[in-house]
């Protein structure tokens, strides 16, 4: 059953089109990733799902109703939204829990308990982010929207946050996750929508996206004896061969390795320093978004 339904969503700011005919469904219990360069319309889309913005065109429904009417069922963690400097962690948690009928306390699991008396303005980036997640989850939402969840966190804190997300999902919460970390999308998301210029250019599982990349496999080696490049090019699995110094680099489909090693065995050539590279979601992303703005932020 689809818990979030977005149909033909359109939103513009003045002359600039932010989102243009975006449609997708998110199933209950799913972690749905939204990927794309800056300005691709990711945040606008999730803001419409959160009921913070009114779409110009199309429709959005959460739990079968307009988002603004089910606000207490949606937990939102937003980019660039802070709390008063001098508000303490414990005060923020108790204030926000007073807005909901059945508040949930995530502070223990998010490691906030030792910091309850600390003022917001003095928290590290990681702690601010964890508090923000705790506040997003405090209303026991059925849908959690997490925008740029791990931006600014160190690698350890990022991994810790991922396990929190997995824990949240296993509690039955559906998650809409905006990210620009491929590793994060690959690890967490069941499906990913890749945005570019306000549209969805691909929507698939992370592995499905990877398999779309041409030359999804690459084999490099140094042949022990002379090898005719034309023989490699004749293999149906091969799309491209290049020679860099002594090293031969062959790109092609997934069965490339088997095809290349069989050929070498027939010619009694040994492949020295053999390396196989599998395309990653990174490659898929660069290809889908035209290679812009990948490592930004």
């Amino acid at each position: 059953m689809a818990i979030i339904e977005v149909r033909d969503l359109g939103k513009r700011y003045g002359p600039r089109v932010a989102v243009d005919s975006v449609s997708f469904d998110v199933a209950e219990g799913e972690i749905f990733g939204i990927l794309g360069p800056n300005g691709a319309g990711k945040t606008t889309t999730v803001e419409c799902v959160a009921g913070l913005r009114t779409p110009d065109r199309g429709s959005v429904s959460v739990l079968g109703r307009p988002p603004a009417s089910v606000r207490s069922a949606i937990g939102v963690q937003l980019q660039a939204s802070e709390l008063p400097e001098r508000m303490r962690v414990g005060e923020a948690l108790s204030l926000f829990s007073s807005f909901y009928p059945a508040p949930a306390d995530w502070s223990e699991r998010l490691g906030l308990t030792p910091h309850l008396r600390a003022e917001f303005g003095r928290l590290s980036g990681g702690l601010k982010q964890r508090l923000s997640i705790a506040l997003a989850l405090i209303g026991s939402p059925r849908v959690a929207i997490l925008d740029e969840l791990t931006t600014g966190l160190d690698p350890q804190a990022r991994r810790d946050t991922w396990s929190v997300v997995e824990e949240v999902r296993s509690a039955g919460v559906t998650i809409l996750l905006v990210t620009h970390f491929m590793e994060e999308a690959e690890r967490l998301c069941d499906r990913v929508a890749v945005f570019r210029d306000g549209r969805i250019v691909a929507l698939d599982t992370p592995s499905g996206l990877v398999s779309r990349v041409d030359g999804s496999c690459r084999v490099r080696f140094v042949p022990s004896a002379h090898l005719d490049v034309a023989l490699l090019q004749a293999l149906p699995e091969v799309t491209e061969v290049s020679v860099v110094g002594e090293q031969v680099v062959v790109s092609g489909s997934e069965n490339l390795l088997h095809a290349v090693t069989s050929l070498l065995a027939r010619k009694q050539i040994v492949a020295r320093g053999l390396r196989v590279d599998q395309a990653s979601l990174d490659d898929a992303y660069v290809e889908l978004t035209g290679g812009r703005d990948v490592a930004d932020h």
């Binding site: 937003l78 939204s81 802070e82 709390l83 001098r86 005060e91």
Partner: protein, 241 residues
């Protein structure tokens, strides 16, 4: 709503420098001025009163203008700039309630400061208790509302928190001048005195209610009008993000 007021009150108190200044500064100024013998002697310029008697209303002006124009606009604009209001709009509670909480706390602080001034004036300098308590209450509440509303207009229109602080300070200085805080009112030209009576927080009405008979209803009406107009403008133009 009570929880929000409680949290806002804690935040107010925690900002020690500002809250102490708002609450205690008018009393301190009164004590310092009152320590000068010449200012405790009745003089004809003050209609047979002492200088400190005639300066009481200017102290009230200071309190109301300081809280309404130095605190309210910056806090509100900062809440917007930092995304605090945006953060709240994702919850079932409307962010307007946070602003209401903020106003309630600041208004209470202003009233408390005025009461403190009345007590110190009575106990230390034997100033009469307000002759017309109801009139004084009206003058302080309406004058405070007018000043707070001006502060909110600034918070609504200023693009950034810094700009809000700057604009508010300019208005603050101006109102302090007309309210006779810098120069006692008897030294000001009569035109300026006249403007002072009609500009928020309304120094003349406060003075009349405290040591005269009753405040001029026209002064009070103007304060009410200012609150209404400025309040409407602020509500119409306010941006939440």
């Amino acid at each position: 709503m009570l929880r929000i007021i409680e949290v806002e009150a804690r935040l107010f108190v925690r900002d020690r420098l500002n809250s102490l200044f708002a609450l205690v500064f008018p009393c301190l100024l009164l004590l310092v001025l009152g320590a000068i013998p010449g200012l405790r002697t009745p003089a004809p310029e003050f209609g047979g009163l002492r200088f400190i008697d005639s300066y009481l209303s200017s102290l009230v002006v200071f309190t109301l203008a300081f809280i309404g124009l130095q605190r309210v606009p910056t806090v509100v604009a900062t809440y917007r700039e930092k995304g605090v209001l945006r953060r709240l709009s994702t919850t079932p509670m409307h962010p307007a309630r946070l602003l209401v909480g903020q106003l309630v706390v600041n208004f209470c602080a202003a009233i408390l400061s005025v009461l403190l001034t009345i007590v110190v004036a009575y106990v230390v300098f034997g100033v009469d208790l307000p002759h017309h308590p109801l009139g004084l209450a009206c003058a302080v509440v309406l004058g405070g509302a007018g000043t707070f509303a001006l502060g909110l207009v600034i918070a609504a229109l200023a693009p950034t928190a810094r700009a809000a602080g700057g604009w508010a300070t300019a208005v603050f200085m101006l109102l302090m001048f007309f309210g006779g805080v810098y120069l006692p009112r008897f030294m000001l030209p009569s035109v300026v005195q006249k403007i002072g009576s009609y500009s928020p927080p309304g120094v003349e009405a406060v003075q009349q209610a405290w040591l005269g008979s009753a405040p001029d209803w026209r002064h009070l009406a103007i304060m009410g009008l200012v609150s209404l107009v400025a309040g409407t403008v602020a509500a119409r133009t306010f941006r939440w993000e």
